[in-house]
């Protein structure tokens, strides 16, 4: 760690940081018992159901968690005290947005899926939001049952701590599909961002050509699913139907986006009659409705190349700083910073202002 990097971090911390992606993990289904109806507690006890867990981040994969983030007797991301010490305090984080990738989309019993999602949301309120005023959170929903998901959004969406509805990027169908209209409508009705995040446990494989063999492929290949989801949202016209809809892509990477914007803008000019509700250049929808978190950082560490990417994105308001804690994306806080030498105004936007504006924090 150089003195320069430390000084930079101190300077950025002093100006204030909003962290758009902090991950929390439910330690065990027993931790949800206080928030589950008696019937479901008994079902879990008598069937030995362990809960759907979080299979997108295998507990012992090197990328899943930094070693020091694992509390005694629990998975990484399950301790508020460690999150405060390791993610909020070092950055001087003003506001951190929690996501919980509890995979209720993998529970086939729709009522069980709703019960577990509701329990996680009440657990998030009681164990995280009520205890730490710097935190905001994302609502866990049974996305495979959009009507039921909408009811859960309406149930807790009025809580001031919830700023987002969490959807796993892997899904049974892309989220622009009309089956999801009730879910998206509920998010807009409750003035919540829709956060589409890494992973998920739908019944279909993570590539359209089948199952890859190795975690490496799923880990780094997830970007292609984000691309499909974003393209689908635009051309299904969800932003035309819901002009107030806001979508954040979480842990998606972002350097892949310029080439798609060019391609979409080009093809739309000839294929427009197929989707006549899309009345503007596809890139304009992205600029207005979509943001992306910065980790895992897929951009070059070189200032000049990073500035080219911002230029190619066509907006300096798209990127939201994130640590992706406790996932192991970097070793020291300094490594998570945007490259040195960027204009101060751009740093301020990425580290804080873009998220404050988009999430209305």
């Amino acid at each position: 760690m150089t003195a320069t990097a430390t000084d930079r971090l101190a300077q950025i911390v002093a100006q204030g940081v909003i962290d758009a992606d902090l991950n929390v993990v439910v330690p065990s289904s027993a931790d949800l018992f206080p928030y589950l109806p008696e019937y479901w507690r008994e079902q879990i006890n008598q069937t030995g159901f362990k809960g759907p867990g979080e299979s997108s981040y295998p507990a012992s994969a090197e990328t899943s968690a930094r070693p020091e983030a694992k509390p005694d007797g629990g998975p990484a991301g399950s301790s508020l005290a460690l999150l405060q010490q390791q993610a909020l305090d070092p950055w001087g984080t003003e506001i951190g947005i929690l996501t919980c990738a509890y995979a209720v989309e993998a529970i086939h019993n729709p009522d069980a899926a709703v019960a577990m999602a509701s329990a996680v949301n009440d657990w998030l309120i009681a164990e995280w939001l009520d205890k730490e005023p710097r935190l905001r959170a994302s609502i866990v929903v049974p996305s495979q049952q959009p009507e039921l998901a909408a009811r859960e959004i309406d149930r807790v969406g009025g809580h001031p701590g919830f700023v987002q509805v969490y959807l796993p990027v892997r899904a049974e169908a892309p989220y622009g599909n009309r089956r999801y209209l009730p879910l998206l409508d509920a998010a807009v009705r409750n003035d919540l961002v829709v956060g589409i995040g890494f992973g998920g446990s739908p019944p279909n494989p993570p590539t359209p050509s089948g199952w890859p063999s190795y975690y490496m492929e799923e880990w780094a290949g997830m970007a292609s699913i984000f691309q499909s989801q974003l393209m689908n949202l635009i051309f299904e016209g969800v932003f035309d139907r819901f002009p107030a809809l806001r979508v954040t892509l979480i842990e998606s990477g972002f350097t892949w986006l310029p080439s798609l914007l060019w391609r979409w803008n080009k093809e739309w000019k000839g294929l427009r009659p197929q989707t006549p509700w899309v009345r503007r250049l596809p890139s304009e929808y992205v600029h207005e409705h979509v943001r992306l978190t910065t980790q895992p950082w897929d951009a070059p560490p070189v200032e000049a190349q990073f500035l080219q990417i911002i230029d190619q994105l066509g907006s300096d308001e798209l990127l939201l700083f994130s640590t992706d804690y406790p996932h192991w994306q970097y070793d020291t806080p300094e490594e998570a910073l945007p490259p040195a030498g960027l204009p101060d105004a751009l740093i301020a936007k990425i580290m804080r202002d873009n998220a404050r504006t988009f999430y209305r924090l």
Binding site: E236, D240, K269, G270, P273, P276, W277, R279
Partner: protein
């Protein structure tokens, strides 16, 4: 502004078109419900033969899944990349201020006005087509394009 005779009205009935060569330029003449329009047969995008493209209507949608289809036949799609142009104005559907195809004025004139080669109607340049049809089409109406010099 020289005028060029390009067709008889019978040749381009409503919904019809004819691509003609005038002064080295390829131009498409379209009949939309009795009104004639002439467009440069060259797409402003990459130079494709625009006037050989399919004619379509204007599709508009207030919401996903809702289709408002109107002006059938009045939108021309370039056969290369399917960019849409309004035959009546030459404007593209997207970015109409910047992307438009060259358009020419079209009029219909009676044969007699075209045939007086000694004293042609003002601005008219008798073309070879007139001579071809002269013996049998003296009562006909002819389609005339104003081509800026």
């Amino acid at each position: 502004m020289p005028k060029h005779v390009v067709a008889t009205v019978e040749e381009i009935p409503p919904g019809g078109r004819k691509v003609v060569e005038i002064a080295g330029r390829s131009i498409g003449v379209f009949n939309l419900g009795g009104d004639y329009f002439a467009l440069r047969n060259r797409c402003p995008h990459q130079g494709g033969p625009l006037c050989l493209g399919k004619q379509s209507g204007f599709i508009h949608s207030p919401l996903p899944g809702e289709y408002e289809y109107s002006r059938q036949g009045e939108i021309l799609k370039c056969p290369w990349h399917s960019w849409e142009f309004d035959i009546r104005t030459g404007q593209s559907w997207f970015d109409p201020a910047r992307v438009r195809v060259r358009q020419y004025d079209v009029t219909v004139a009676p044969a007699q006005a075209l045939l007086d080669r000694e004293a042609p109607a003002p601005g008219l340049e008798p073309g070879p087509y007139v001579a071809e049809t002269y013996p049998v089409t003296v009562e006909q109406q002819y389609i005339v394009i104003d081509l800026p010099g």
